[in-house]
Symmetry: none
Subunit: 247 residues, 2 copies
């Protein structure tokens, strides 16, 4: 058992037992270093493990807080890759309608999880399925300005925009939060989608975060009812026993 693994296990137990409550701060790196008599490198190695499991959230200048108690029982697992579950079929062509820089006001910030005043690049595009005349949906994508260069890749791409951002900028999505509500198309939306005002539609909002819980991207999609259904398959994960520890 390495020191880092040992420390990670210890902290995990403390979090699971509630000794460090959700929302509370855990000791600073310097303090853990002293308390367990290890190097800072080892502390960070342990914390990295907890971050990757989503148990803690570290912020420079603030500290490290507990984000979730370890899920104890049964997990669900999406059955496929991120694409399969989240996208509707891979083969949809993208048609770029507009791109513009926007500054998030209160409403937008709340909707996509940004800070008010944050500058974002908004891309408006239509999704088309092969051999279908009408667009399957209309999507607004909000990107960070430093990721603006993926826009040129979108129309020819055969993969989701989020993958383009990941690959091109070396970031990695750790978490996706999704909200689906029913709405009906207003006149402007119906015109873009070549549908009729009042038609029911799925309103899908997704926010993509990295391991440090920073917002990397957000999408707002509008899908008229007859052209789209949102399918998910969950599979209960077998509870897997960890090998007995050598205390």
């Amino acid at each position: 058992m390495t020191k880092a693994v040992n420390l990670a296990r210890h902290l995990t137990e403390q979090i699971e037992s509630g000794h460090y409550a959700v929302g509370a701060a855990i000791p600073t790196e310097a303090e853990l270093q002293q308390r367990f008599d290890v190097s800072r490198h080892t502390v960070r190695e342990a914390l990295r493990e907890l971050k990757s499991r989503g148990l803690i959230l570290a912020r420079a200048g603030v500290g490290t807080v507990v984000r979730a108690r370890a899920p104890a029982t049964s997990f669900m697992q999406g059955m496929g890759t991120l694409e399969e579950v989240i996208q509707f079929g891979e083969a949809t062509r993208m048609k770029l309608l507009a791109r513009e820089t926007v500054v998030a006001d209160e409403a937008l910030a709340g909707q996509v999880g940004a800070r008010p005043g944050q500058e974002l690049l908004r891309i408006s595009l239509l999704r088309h399925r092969p051999r279908e005349a009408l667009p399957a949906g209309w999507v607004l994508i909000y990107l960070r300005p430093e990721h603006a260069d993926v826009v040129g890749l979108i129309e020819g791409a055969r993969e989701p925009v989020v993958r383009l951002v990941e690959r091109r900028h070396g970031v990695r999505i750790a978490e996706v939060v999704q909200q689906i509500v029913a709405s009906s198309l207003d006149a402007a939306q119906a015109r873009v989608l070549r549908s009729r005002a009042g038609k029911p539609a799925l309103h899908v909002t997704r926010r993509y975060f990295d391991a440090q819980d920073r917002l990397l991207m957000a999408t707002v999609g509008l899908y008229p009812s007859e052209r789209f259904s949102h399918n998910t398959c969950f599979r209960i994960q077998e509870h897997r026993e960890r090998p007995k520890g050598t205390a």
Copy 2:
């Protein structure tokens, strides 16, 4: 862009492009260190990223070989237990409207995944949130006749119906397939839900299967738009190395 991220991206591209073939070795840490003029720490940081994606496999004394060219099938993991993700909110009261035995015709069989001619028990109920007058949604539940005795437990229960079936009959759900479409309420539905015809609503169909892929239960829910939103949180699972095999 950090040096480690940069190096990781470079190596990823080389692997994806086939410059380093699957099974072939990539340069040693010492060589990468020299070639990119970075510290070994940085090299290992980059390699760790590739390991966590399952792209490479490092072994002491041997070297590091490419394991997969593909973007490792990143799985998603629901963040909570089955209840937390699938249910909306915690405490919703159930109010039983009707129960009847139906024989699945073609349409129903297709919708809920049963065989045509199969006999099913249909329960109709309204979901109410505490301290709200209007029902949050209307749900039809299709049960196998041999599970009929859970009906009496529903109204007082503090857990989902699927859990009641599991506990009372010793079965276990292994898979849930869910479909969400947007629709608008017709007159009859609006009357039941005390809403107005034409209002948009989420139409949620779920089918529950056991490990042998047998249909255990199906639900069809109708949720008026302002009363319900469907929220999901996915977390990407890190690639985890299996312990050395017991060949």
